[in-house]
Symmetry: C2
Subunit: 254 residues, 2 copies
């Protein structure tokens, strides 16, 4: 497919280079920042533009990887009737791009993408469109770069976006709390990395509910008391420790 990439951030960069490697032809990169447009265009070996009116009308697919806010006003600056136009956002409805094209939809990567962290990880996609034929075309496009592609309507996509916040942003926040605590106390956070990888990696073999262990699940009050005595000065950790210990305890008693 001939593609135009609208945006120059992490999602635009990673998906652009994945599509290019899969044999699609990137015609153009658009970014309002000429420097950013030029940088990504160099990586994708294509042209670049920074004015909306310079976007080529000749592509088969327009991949719009912009912020949620920028998506909302897009119909005022961009019109591509008859073209397949996709956004990549987890929590924005598929109908948002109808003002740009009747053939619009969603290609949502359920992954945390950073352009500098190569090789890029496996990317599951949730796809959707207003028209069933378009949905099929988007799914085929996604399958050209991913082995995990599912159709998901606005609500299902938003639910998985919420679940992704739990397992990515919130999990990472626990890593931040542990990292800060180790730094402040002179302990070596890197000793925890094999445990962190094991905790995540075993989920393909065992359900998380069957993997739970530790003082809260055991009801080991003595160890919990010892831990609480260590974190008196760490307000964030104390709040999280108290809440999680209660929730895990209640679940293990059900």
């Amino acid at each position: 497919m001939r593609m135009v990439i609208i945006g120059s951030g992490n999602v635009a960069t990673v998906l652009g280079s994945q599509f290019r490697e899969a044999g699609h032809r990137i015609l153009q990169v658009f970014s309002r920042q000429p420097v950013h447009a030029a940088q990504l265009a160099q990586e994708l070996a294509c042209g670049h533009v920074s004015r909306w009116e310079d976007i080529s009308p000749d592509a088969d697919v327009y991949l719009v990887a912009l912020s949620d806010d920028a998506l909302r006003g897009l119909g005022r600056v961009l019109s591509l009737p008859g073209r397949l136009v996709l956004h990549t956002a987890g929590s924005v409805p598929r109908e948002i791009l109808l003002e740009v094209s009747a053939h619009s939809g969603v290609l949502y990567p359920l992954q945390s993408l950073r352009r500098e962290l190569r090789p890029y990880p496996e990317i599951p996609f949730l796809v959707d469109a207003n028209d069933p034929d378009d949905r099929q075309r988007i799914a085929d496009l996604a399958r050209s770069i991913s082995g995990q592609v599912k159709e998901a309507d606005n609500e299902t996509r938003l639910k998985l976006h919420l679940a992704a916040v739990l397992v990515n942003n919130f999990t990472n926040h626990l890593y931040v709390l542990a990292d800060e605590y180790c730094r402040a106390e002179g302990a070596d956070f890197s000793m925890l990395l094999p445990l962190i990888r094991e905790t995540a990696g075993r989920l393909s073999r065992i359900a998380p509910g069957d993997a739970q262990t530790g003082p809260a699940a055991r009801g080991d009050g003595a160890t919990i008391e010892r831990h609480l005595s260590l974190i008196g000065n760490y307000k964030d950790i104390r709040e999280v420790y108290t809440l999680f210990t209660r929730q895990i305890r209640e679940m293990s008693q059900e």
Copy 2:
């Protein structure tokens, strides 16, 4: 080294088989449950006993992988003067085994171990002893099965045990919440596994504080509201979502 394994749970099984594979000779397994002792003894190709007085006095090292409570009373049933006796607990002081032997210490695996999940993961060890020479011997023993071995006193070990609760038990609790939510809402939790692996795996290349993204870090109130509207009936998720969103927001504004 000639070793006796005291205990037959996950830690006893995984460490016993790692030491055996590294060329140490396991003389005996002890468990108060004869069936458990026999099972592990078969796996380690050694003898087994179920009475304290039948434990062989001929080993170089006694690895005591018992519950914290069982460790506390051990001096009343076991005496091995002159032998190296180690416990494997994160939150129990090294002095607890002095009643068993003056040459006692700690070999704490900073990892979540399940006998059925092979191949076994990389296991960092924290080692300690009352005597500096013993500490060296324990470190050497640990290095025979691990590339990551550090000395750590009672307090440092307890601090890393607390940090391990954050990144293992609490992270797993987030996975449990996401899994339960997906089941209840008909969404496919397995679509999240690549994201979960990426969130954990990238920590070897990027500090968690630099990896934080998402609606809370961005201050994206519209998406946060949309998420909150989805989880009205999920009390545990609502409590976690509210607390984490506030903490992440505060940190990102610092």
